[in-house]
């Protein structure tokens, strides 16, 4: 089988599974994911609790399903936010060029040089440590990379002859931007957004792991994994299952990302 077909199949399957789990998890889970049950704490996987229970006796499977919903929702909104703002900044920067562009990009680069945790911490402190705070913080943290890519695309598109053609027609720069450049940024943005979904998921769980991230007790895979660390010796399943979910999702995203890239941009085949 050729690689792209393989990628699309496995990646699509994994992400399809994730979406189903998330969709189901948002509506129904075997147990209430927040329900404490002290008599059953740290119970090993069994018929009643397929994936065991955590230190508060909460059902791990239910939490994983609810966590899928939260993680998908957060990742989607974050990507949307970063794409929208990044695109606006990138378009503007690529449009005005000159020293304004240089200043914007200098800030952009400095922001990229920031460790994510500091940025997230700062922004979380400003916007509040809740689900939407995370979205805003991660969204802002990922905006510079979108802006950079959009600006690069804009600059390379500007060299294309159809842009020259638009100018020869007498179209204004703004019209050219909206009619010709923006639509042609969609393909690279799709590729970027796909892989960014994975990065955001990873960032959210990494932040949770360092003690930030989506505030518990609402389950996300990241905070479940982080919460499992002290019990890793006694209750291995607590750490295994959320990590497995994150890894499989990232694998799905990576494969699907490769497939999307092959489809939209054959020139970049196999690139990261």
């Amino acid at each position: 089988m050729r690689l792209p077909a393989f990628n699309a199949l496995i990646g699509g399957g994994l992400i399809g599974g994730l979406l189903i789990a998330a969709g189901t998890g948002a509506l129904w889970t075997p147990y209430d994911p927040l329900k404490l049950s002290f008599r059953e704490k740290l119970a090993a996987p069994s018929a009643a609790h397929w994936l065991g229970t955590d230190e508060f006796g909460r059902d791990v499977l239910s939490r994983l399903m609810a966590g899928a919903a939260t993680s998908v929702w957060i990742s989607l909104l974050t990507v949307a936010l970063a794409v929208i703002f990044g695109t606006l900044i990138g378009l503007f920067s690529g449009y005005v060029r000159g020293w304004v562009d240089r200043v914007i990009m200098a800030f952009n680069d400095a922001l990229l040089a920031f460790p994510g945790i500091l940025l997230a911490l700062g922004l979380l402190a400003v916007v509040g440590a809740n689900k939407y705070g995370i979205i805003v913080a991660l969204g802002i943290a990922y905006t510079p990379s979108v802006a950079r890519i959009v600006r690069g695309t804009v600059l390379s598109l500007r060299e294309k002859e159809f842009i020259a053609a638009s100018r020869v027609m007498g179209n204004s720069e703004a019209f050219t931007m909206a009619r010709h450049i923006l639509p042609n940024c969609i393909a690279p943005l799709t590729v970027l957004a796909t892989s960014m979904f994975g990065y955001v998921l990873l960032a959210e769980s990494s932040l949770s792991f360092l003690g930030l991230g989506v505030p518990p007790p609402a389950p996300t895979w990241g905070n479940m994994l982080a919460g499992a660390r002290p019990y890793i010796g006694q209750a291995m399943w607590l750490g295994i299952f959320p990590g497995l979910c994150i890894s499989l999702t990232l694998l799905g995203i990576n494969l699907l990302g490769d497939a999307v890239r092959d489809r939209l941009d054959p020139r970049m085949r196999g690139m990261r």
Partner: protein, 514 residues
């Protein structure tokens, strides 16, 4: 077998060839400095206070008593304190203790350049002002206050102020910078290797206040019976565990969750000490919702304290709703009466309060040593059970502390550090929010009672005040204390005579069998 090998492997580096009389104790963090009361934390106090001593110190029950002083006389107006120094006390460098040393030390602390942490406690900025200190003779010192204050001695004994320890002036270098503590404590400063370990050794000429072998807080029998003590910095609890099992560490604090496992180890004993740290749920009484007493009472009745405490302390602690800690000499029958877990009553109160499903957010943090998060999770679940829409917002500790200081929250799972005197214990969370937003209880009568307890010296009268305060607190529910700190230690069976007390690893009277 394998496990022991692996552990031995990893810990051989720490152990070194241990002399018979050397004790290795694990500590979770490095000391911040060895300069008493300047740059400190609990760990630092613990180390420094084995080497230096103040005029007064706490006894086992948290009451200040004479340490370097032999006796303390208070004038009739309560404003003049006369300290008579104990005879035969020597500094580590052999110099005898005199009133001149007390004066020199005190003046050094009161010099802003010293950066003494407790300067504001004594210069009038917090009310109390020591107006004059004089040496009447080589063995007598007097201190004059601006006003009578029942808590003056307590303030002097505070461990975070390093007991206002008396040190020899050679502790300070010629250029005025601090060198090392030359004090009168049972141990002498050894070596300090940053981020790795610090050591101290027995002071042979130590003059113990008593020699009956009975440990009594910072007083009592304080003989140094081991030659050296090495405090090894081991940040990770799992390493501590491995070190204890392998014998590379003789004793150390362990996690609540490791107690069961280490109890089973044949070479170890486990001691669970308690301390005056008070865990609880703070309530912002100025919150539009939570200013409603009925709602606060409903919250208090909704919580199953046995369940919450067992979940949050890994079954080690017992519930205590009182602001007083059970070890206190003021902790009596009244204080044992806590909140009643009664879900039916809670629902009834909730209905009476006119609560309409508004969200109540509980702040918490996930510091591994704090019990904030588990308390919040359990409380949330219990509040939800009676129909309160409770949510948790997990903050990083510094942010939570900032919200605490600003009073900007509805509820939070918080811990108050040790305060031995009940008046201070109440004062810690009570006061006028306009002046200090971090305060929680601002009911004027309660504040008046606390103010009174600050000046009244008579124990029986104080007991009445505290009982009254406790009852008011239970009725008003300005906040909910849940339980007190527990501190499990694991010790090699070779270690004798250690008693866990108030997060302090006191090394006097401890012996090491071969």
């Amino acid at each position: 077998m394998n496990r022991v090998l692996a552990s031995a492997f990893m810990l051989a580096a720490m152990a070194g060839p241990a002399a018979a009389q050397s004790l290795t104790v694990s500590v979770p963090a490095d000391v911040r400095s060895i300069n008493p009361g300047v740059n400190r934390d609990d760990n630092t106090d613990d180390f420094v206070l084995q080497m230096v001593e103040g005029l007064v110190g706490y006894d086992e029950g948290g009451t200040p008593g004479p340490l370097l002083a032999e006796k303390i006389d208070v004038s009739a107006d309560g404003k003049t304190y006369t300290f008579t120094l104990r005879k035969g006390v020597k500094f580590h460098n052999g110099a005898p203790l005199t009133s001149a040393d007390v004066l020199w030390s005190w003046n050094r602390y009161m010099d802003p350049k010293t950066d003494w942490r407790c300067l504001t406690e004594f210069d009038g900025r917090n009310g109390l002002k020591v107006e004059a200190v004089e040496a009447l003779d080589a063995n007598t010192v007097t201190m004059k206050l601006n006003a009578p204050n029942a808590l003056f001695l307590d303030a002097l004994a505070r461990t975070d102020c390093a007991m206002a320890a008396v040190i020899h002036k050679d502790s300070v270098k010629a250029d005025g910078s601090f060198d090392k503590p030359i004090g009168t404590g049972p141990f002498k400063m050894g070596e300090w290797k940053r981020n790795e370990f610090y050591t101290m050794s027995a002071f042979e000429d130590y003059a113990s206040p008593k020699t009956d072998g009975k440990i009594d807080g910072y007083l009592g029998s304080k003989r140094p019976l081991v030659k050296d003590v090495k405090f090894l910095i081991v940040r990770d609890p799992a390493t501590v565990k491995a070190g204890l099992l392998s014998g590379a560490i003789d004793m150390g604090g362990i996690l609540n969750s490791d107690v069961d496992e280490l109890r089973k180890a044949p070479s170890l004993t486990v001691q669970v000490g308690t301390n005056a740290v008070r865990h609880g749920l703070l309530i912002q009484t100025r919150d539009p919702l939570l200013k409603n007493v009925k709602l606060r009472q409903a919250i208090a009745a909704a919580i199953d304290y046995d369940e919450l405490v067992s979940a949050a302390s890994a079954d080690l602690a017992k519930p205590n709703n009182s602001p007083l800690y059970p070890g206190s000499s003021y902790f009596g029958d009244v204080e044992k009466q806590g909140f009643k877990y009664d879900p039916a009553q809670a629902k009834k109160l909730l209905q009476e309060s006119g609560y309409k499903g508004e969200t109540i957010t509980i702040l918490a943090n996930k510091r591994p040593t704090a019990v904030s998060f588990p308390q919040a999770v359990v409380a949330q679940s219990m509040l939800q059970a009676i129909g309160i829409k409770a949510e948790i917002e997990v903050l990083e500790w510094a942010t939570q502390l900032d919200r605490y200081n600003k009073g900007n929250y509805q509820m939070q799972a918080f811990s108050f550090s040790s305060r031995f005197d009940p008046a201070l214990g109440f004062e810690q969370f009570s006061g006028n929010k306009d002046k200090q937003p971090r305060k929680i209880w601002e009911e004027p009568q309660a504040l008046a009672l606390i103010d009174k307890a600050m000046v009244v010296a008579d124990k029986a009268e104080r007991q009445k005040l505290f009982d009254e305060l406790h009852k008011r607190y239970i009725a008003e529910v300005p906040m909910i204390f849940t339980f007190n700190g527990v501190e499990p230690y694991a010790l090699s069976k070779r270690v004798k005579g250690f008693e866990a007390w108030q997060s302090k690893q006191r090394m006097w009277e401890v012996t090491l069998a071969n």
